[in-house]
Amino acid sequence: MLTVQDLHVNYGAVHALNGVSLTVKDGEIVSLIGANGAGKTTTLRTITGLEKAASGSITFDGVDLRKTEPSKIITHKLAHVPEGRHIFPTMTVEENLEMGAYTDPTDQEKTMEEVYQRFPRLRERRRQLAGTLSGGEQQMLAVGRALMSKPKMILMDEPSMGLSPLLVKEIFDIIREVNAQGITILLVEQNARMALSISHRAYVLETGTITIQGDAKDLLNDPRVKKAYLGQ
């Protein structure tokens, strides 16, 4: 479904990505783990066009994403939940969700009803300003807004950031449920154990290069991963 081939991205003289290649197949959860500054977020931002690639190719569902405007990428049903819960703080929860259906408002009410069923808390707070929600609720809203665009695939950047362990578990359960409905997910996470436990496959990114890849189960037992990312 998503194929990234030999992707290079530079920030000035700094090489952020040095030939990253990865594939995500239909229906999978694939996670991308790695330390701070390894290039995880850069990879996602380059896929959705927020950063410009120096070379390499990105294809999603047969579409060349490097030739697609960032604002058009969502029309190909690829949604991005950016790092740090980017919601619209002085709009209400419902208005935030409406913005999610910005490019495709058909059946907006039906989709919103589905989102509310998945996140009953958001329904309770539909008239509340999004900036006054708790961290976990804001993350749910960010996911809900992505669902409003009826995506085939969602890119998620650090959904566990700044959340309590209990909420992290809740968010990861939600990711699994969303995936069970047939939405493919590429997940970027620092919380490697959690990410690997729900993923089918995973890639380890180190200073802009993929160093290890394989089934998530195998990676959980890989001595190198255990030592560097699982703290064992």
């Binding site: 927020l50 960032p70 604002s71 058009k72 969502i74 619209f88 709009m91 910005y102 490019t103 960010a142």
Partner: protein, 331 residues
């Protein structure tokens, strides 16, 4: 349009007509005696200032970007309209027709300038954008100081006196209505989403640069109309009128009124247009008092007089009638 909304528009229209009729009646009755023309002048000044301030608020309040060069767009509107009305004078157009053509030309010229400046500048944000807009306004001013068609560095005089108070008033009403509709439209919502969080906005599929340039162009268009009324009221102007101080003055009126509130801009503009005149009796201390008032407002209402809140006639009337009903029930 829902019924409620229709009623709201109707109510506001009635309110505007009442204010206009009241002012005209006061002028006609000669309440102000010998200073009628003077008061009428202040009212005209307030009208075009409202247009300029409200248009700047589109950028500062609704798009959330700082512009320090609004006077540049005002001056484009002022000079272009003056040149157009000068060229078309005596060609068989009525005074009103000439006035409308001139202000529309001024607005369009400023709007086009807004697009030209906006396309490169709006890739920048915050402080950088503020510096670029300031530089733009200076460039315009220097150009107008050197073009012979704008009178060079000298005063451009002999502009037709086409801006009467009623015309300025109704143009203001139309402009503010359009700006209000823009803010409440799908475009307005989109622009506010960009202000709130541009990363989330682009992730939702919004073309951020396009909407920023669009807003900037709309804002410049109305700034140009404000400038055009100014030119045909003053009948003479010099490029230094539109220096950085003028941009800063407009910006302070936006902030005093409340960033993100169009009704706030109206109050801010009227208040600050009338204030220096009302304080004339303090003579030399006038500007000092003006500054003190600004400081006081900022101290006690840091978000401006209105903040982001919009004054609504419907809501006030609703509350009044509601109170009366509950009073009846109580009795």
């Amino acid at each position: 349009m829902t019924k409620q909304r229709k009623i709201a528009y109707l109510l506001n229209a009635v309110g505007v007509v009442v204010i206009f009729a009241l002012l005209m009646a006061l002028f006609a009755a000669g309440v102000f005696g010998t200073s009628t023309t003077y008061i009428q002048g202040i009212c005209t000044t307030a009208c075009y200032t409202v247009i300029m301030v409200a248009s700047l608020n589109l950028v500062v309040g609704f798009m959330g970007e700082f512009s320090l060069g609004h006077a540049g767009f005002v001056s484009v509107g002022a000079y272009v309209s003056a040149i157009v009305s000068g060229a078309l004078a005596g060609k068989g157009l009525s005074d009103l027709g000439l006035f409308l053509v001139a202000i529309l030309a001024g607005g369009l010229a400023a709007g086009i300038m807004g697009v030209l400046v906006g396309i490169p500048a709006l890739r920048l944000r915050g402080d950088y954008l503020a510096i670029v807009t300031m530089a733009f306004a200076e460039i315009i001013r220097v150009c107008f100081c050197n073009f012979s068609i704008t009178g060079g560095g000298k005063t451009l005089s002999g502009i037709l006196k086409l801006s009467t108070f009623p015309r300025a008033f109704w143009v203001m009403v139309v402009c503010v209505t359009f700006m209000y509709m823009f803010v409440r439209s799908k475009f307005g919502r989109t622009v506010q989403a960009i202000r709130e969080d541009y990363i989330a906005a682009s992730a939702a599929g919004i073309n951020v640069t396009f909407y920023k340039v669009l807003t900037f162009a709309v804002s410049s268009f109305f700034a140009g109309i404000g400038g055009a009324i100014y030119a045909h009221y003053m009948t003479a102007m010099i490029p230094t009128n539109f220096n950085f101080n003028y941009s800063a003055e407009l910006l302070s009126e936006v902030i005093i009124g409340g960033t993100g509130s169009l009704t706030g801009s109206i109050i801010g503009a009227v208040f600050l247009s009338a204030l220096p005149e009302a304080m004339r009796q303090f003579a030399t201390y006038r500007m000092l008092c003006y500054s003190v008032v600004l400081v006081l407002v900022m101290l006690f209402r840091p978000g401006g007089i209105f903040g982001r809140w919009e004054f609504s006639l419907t809501r006030v009337l609703g509350r009044l009638t509601h109170r009366r009903e509950t009073a009846k029930k109580g009795a």
